[in-house]
Amino acid sequence: MRSDALTKIYDGKTVVDHISFEIPKGKVVSFIGPNGAGKSTVIGMLSRLIARDGGTAEFEGKDVAKWKSGELAKRLAILTQTNNIQMKLTVWELVAFGRFPYSGSHLTERDNQAVRQAIEYMELTDLTDSFIDELSGGQRQRAYIAMVIAQDTEYVLLDEPTNNLDIYHASNMMKIIRRLCDELGKTVILVLHEINYAAFYSDVICAFVDGKIAAFGSVKEVMNPTTLSAIYGVDFEMIEVNGKPLSIYY
């Protein structure tokens, strides 16, 4: 997946300004940066949710806009933070929608198996017949991830998956994301606000400031006091935990 001079303009204001990068396959890639830096817009354009105003976004060598939407749905899944769905669906019914790109409304035995495995993988088996509006925030988030797993795509894009989750559920979510990459071999691209989650759980970090890329590289390359101060405008101190650089700011 790569982009070249990707640009988005809202009301005359350039939100994403000629961004070019190539996302390495099979890695967890975190987008970080202050509010309004354009992270979510970039993820939206990469996943054909948002129309772009310039440049290209290519997936497997083909422009995302030229992909058939149904075909792309089998290769790339996107989960945004607007999941305040007030629909009374059971966990099974929600996760089964992940098979829609493959079988439409007629689920085969293979689809059912994929749904069952996804639910099992997210440890929701006991809640299979529960309605999602009766679950806790963390459980609901896991149900959505289970749907993405059932969708069985090589790429998974997540827009602020830890938003609104407390520390316990957020760190669990990050562990799940790590497993999606390590165990299921997926490429995960996510927008994160907590830079230490990005430092601890991802392979590559891409930092945005004012719609431009401020830093792109391995965790070690990006996570240093000088770069972070330039991005966020506050002072940082670094410590090392389990061989990962973590930042302290106040």
Partner: protein, 342 residues
């Protein structure tokens, strides 16, 4: 376990509907039971085939159609208070009928239905376009705007009818009733049946679109096309009912709400139950209307209006206290879960 329980409700509903249907055939001025002689030279079989059976079938189609149309609209708009009544579909269909009467005085039932359909679709689309533009924070605002919009259209209809002295002709379509349903005058309501089959086939599409633009795109479903298609089906169902029996409100609002409380929002799972419940509701209201002042009868819209408004207020209170609490406590609940459950 769950599946058996689900089917049980459907079987009970179907059984109740069958019993009520048979019963309703024998309610009327002319006694259809053996022994008593039929009046006016009409055979008992004639009464049954010309009047009673068409009336029953029209009632069933109306109940089934209106509740399915409401179900589709509620799902597509992500709002439990949107229905043909609160989404301006019904009043637009009436305006369409008036326009047909004005411009084509000799219009047939079919051409009136076509006018009603075109008008219902336009009205519903304007409403949807409007609420999507404005993005209301409060779910109650959507049906309120719909009712206001519907009343504006109703006002235009009344004004036009008054100007061209059509008020009396129009009243047939303003207040729903089954008294004039006889053989040869109602068959258009059968259109409801194929439309419901189509709705059932695309039920999952409607569900996915109901979960939002992003959700639909992620699964490769074309949001705009499905939204348009679903609303077209709802408008067509409404139009074919309004042109035969007139306006029948509330069913599309109440029945899907009650069914979803028990069966959830997966349309495939709730469509048949919603259809059966809608038919039962209309049939019961019609029976009440036929029995209370027998041998005369009250228009069904009156009975539905009374029962419906009470039920509507009950649902409104329940949904709002439940829904609001749910939204505001969402985060509190999540954080409490760590201490409590985990």
């Amino acid at each position: 376990m769950g599946i058996i329980k689900e089917r049980k409700i459907t079987v009970i509903l179907a059984g109740t509907l069958t019993l009520l249907s048979v019963f309703s055939l024998f309610v009327g001025v002319i006694d259809l039971r053996g022994g008593a002689a039929a009046a006016g030279g009409l055979g008992r079989l004639d009464v049954l085939l010309i009047s009673r059976l068409p009336r029953l079938l029209a009632i069933l189609c109306t109940g089934v159609g209106m509740s399915v149309a409401g179900l589709i609209m509620q799902q597509l708009c992500m709002n439990k208070f949107v229905s043909p009544t609160t989404g301006a579909t019904l009043s637009s269909a009436q305006l369409g009928i008036l326009l047909a009467l004005l411009f084509m005085p000799r219009s047939t039932l079919w051409s009136r239905a076509a006018f009603a359909f075109a008008s219902a679709l336009t009205g519903t689309w304007l409403f949807i376009w409007f609420i999507q533009r404005i993005k209301f924070k409060d779910t109650v605002m959507v049906p309120l705007v719909g009712m206001m919009f519907g009343n504006v259209i109703g006002g235009v209809t009344s004004l036009l009818a008054y100007r061209y002295e059509m008020t009396q002709a129009l009243s047939t379509w303003l207040v729903g009733h089954f008294a004039l349903v006889i053989r040869g005058r109602y068959e258009i309501v059968y259109l409801v049946l194929p439309l419901i089959v189509i709705a059932f086939i695309f039920a999952n599409h409607f569900n996915i679109v109901g979960m939002g633009k992003t959700f639909s795109k992620n699964l490769g479903v074309n949001y705009g096309v499905v939204l348009f298609g679903g609303l077209t089906i709802a408008a067509a169902i409404t139009a074919s009912i309004v042109v035969v029996v007139g306006s029948v409100s509330y069913i599309g609002l109440i029945v899907p709400n009650i069914v979803s409380m028990f069966k959830g929002d997966k349309i495939r799972g709730s469509l048949i139950d919603a259809a059966l419940s809608g038919a039962i509701f209309v049939l019961v209201c019609d029976l009440i209307g036929r029995v209370v002042i027998a041998p005369y009868e009250l228009p069904i819209e009156l009975i539905i209006g009374i029962l419906g408004s009470v039920l509507f207020v009950a649902i409104l209170i329940r949904r709002l206290s439940h829904g609001r609490k749910h939204i505001s406590l969402g985060r509190v609940k999540a954080s409490r879960a760590i201490g409590g459950i985990q």
